[in-house]
């Protein structure tokens, strides 16, 4: 079954075309990478998938639902981790988890999730006092608290040190094993190679290439990425 279907998506802001004629599909259980330089249209695509913005043209289905029309139902099935994590500074980890758990019909076990994300010791720490990696892990935990069928993780490991990055990758493997379809938005090629079953490279709002990391490696994924996206923005 298809988890995400995007067909000829187009979105423009004023005169600027952010996304133009973008199509791809993500199969259930797959880890799909959306790659591109800053401003390539990744975030706009994510916003449209999450129902935060209405596309100007094209058709989107996430878990078979229209993100705008079926917004409410989709919010139960889709977990989103946005680029900058966003919580009040004085909220503690456990409070944030309980709050977000209260939004969903059938939330995941908080203690189990904190354990899996190595946050149990920090459960009474306020958000402001967390390190970058801990904030990131909390934001992943919040994206997973509603037991989503599909998770969109945006700039997952930006700002993490190499060890924290490896740990996060291992975590993504674990999440996939639980049957969650994952869309990973990134500009780290090693991350995409290590985690993704397939990737799409966006360039100036269009899909420049799509395939498995091995198919696109000429000779490495990064070389292909640079060849497709360098220069012109």
């Amino acid at each position: 079954m298809t988890a995400i279907e995007v067909e000829r998506l187009r979105k423009q802001y004023g005169a600027k075309v952010a996304v133009d004629d973008v199509s791809f599909t993500v199969a259930e259980g797959e880890i799909f990478g959306l790659l591109g330089r800053n401003g390539a249209g990744k975030s706009t695509t994510v916003d449209c998938l999450a129902g935060l913005r209405a596309p100007d043209r094209g058709r989107i289905r996430v878990a078979g639902l229209d993100p705008r029309r079926d917004q409410h139902e989709l919010r139960h099935l889709l977990g989103v981790q946005l680029q900058e994590s966003a919580l009040p500074y004085k909220l503690t980890v456990a409070e944030a988890m309980r709050l977000y758990a209260s939004f969903y019909r059938n939330p995941a076990d908080i203690a189990g999730l904190l354990d899996m994300l190595d946050l149990t010791e920090k459960r009474n720490t306020r958000y402001r006092k967390l390190s970058g990696g801990q904030k990131q892990r909390l934001s992943i935990a919040l994206a997973l608290i509603g037991r989503p069928r599909i998770a969109i993780l945006d700039e997952l490991t930006t700002g993490l040190d190499p060890v924290a990055r490896r740990d996060t990758w291992a975590l993504i493997d674990d999440i996939r094993k639980q049957g969650v379809t994952i869309m990973l938005v990134t500009h780290f090629m090693t991350e995409a190679e290590r985690l993704c079953d397939r990737v799409a490279i966006l360039q100036a709002g269009r899909v420049a290439a799509i395939g498995t990391p091995a198919e696109l490696a000429r000779p490495t994924l990064e070389d292909t990425f640079v060849a497709l996206t360098a220069g012109r923005h």
Partner: protein, 235 residues
């Protein structure tokens, strides 16, 4: 919704400065007035100031607390994050309004208690009328605060707008000169806090508030709410 409201209440309790200005300061201000033996038109200063201090509470939470909080939630992308959950961003604003209104009414009750217990100011004789005006004054200020939050691009600018509006609003409430000139008083009747103080004073003395101040407060609440809902920027 219950969880969101509880969380917002907890977050407010963790802001000692906001609680001081909104809750403790009005009581201290009233107590200071109570220590003075002067009176205005035969009323002790503390009784004259009680409705003014109550207006001050509404303005503190409505114009300084709420808009900054809501704007910082937008700036910190908290509203956006919530938009991806089944709760949506509207409810967290609802929770903020509930918490703000509750605290304003608690602080108002606290000021009445300080006046009564500390300085023998009688409790409002027209209690129902007083309650109606106190709630309307609070909603008018919260609605105006939401209008600021709707259009202010950042928490800083929301705070600045609240402070700028504070002075004229509180001038007509009589914070600096409780006995306004007849002209200023007449103009003040058409401002929300001028109207509120007048109506609070009347109901304290035992009269049902006049329709004009109730209409002014109602109109302010309605107009600001509608404008805020229309103009609200989610991002």
């Amino acid at each position: 919704m219950r969880m969101l409201t509880l969380t917002e209440a907890k977050l407010l309790i963790r802001e000692p400065l906001a609680l001081f200005w909104g809750l403790a300061f009005p009581m201290v201000l009233l107590a200071v007035m109570g220590l003075s033996s002067s009176d205005i038109d035969g009323l002790p200063l503390v009784a004259v100031y009680e409705p003014i201090v109550i207006a001050f509470i509404a303005v503190t939470f409505g114009l300084q607390g709420l808009p900054v909080q809501v704007a910082s939630y937008r700036e910190g992308r908290i509203l956006r994050r919530l938009a991806t959950t089944p709760a949506g961003p509207v409810r967290v604003i609802g929770a903020q309004l509930i918490v703000s209104l509750t605290v304003v009414l608690l602080a108002t009750a606290g000021v009445l208690a300080v006046g009564r217990l500390g300085f023998a100011v009688p409790l409002p004789r027209q209690a129902v009328g007083f309650a109606v005006v106190a709630v309307l004054a609070a909603t008018a200020m919260l609605a105006l605060g939401m209008l600021i939050a709707a259009v202010a691009p950042t928490a800083r600018s929301a705070g600045a707008a609240g402070t700028v509006l504070f002075f004229p609003l509180m001038y007509f409430a009589g914070l600096w000169t409780p006995r306004l000139s007849p002209t200023a008083r007449h103009v003040g009747e058409f401002t929300p806090l001028g109207a509120a103080t007048q109506a609070l004073r009347d109901s304290m003395a035992g009269a049902w508030p006049h329709p004009l101040p109730l209409a002014v407060l109602g109109a302010c609440t309605l107009a600001c709410s509608v404008a805020a809902a229309r103009l609200f920027r989610w991002e």
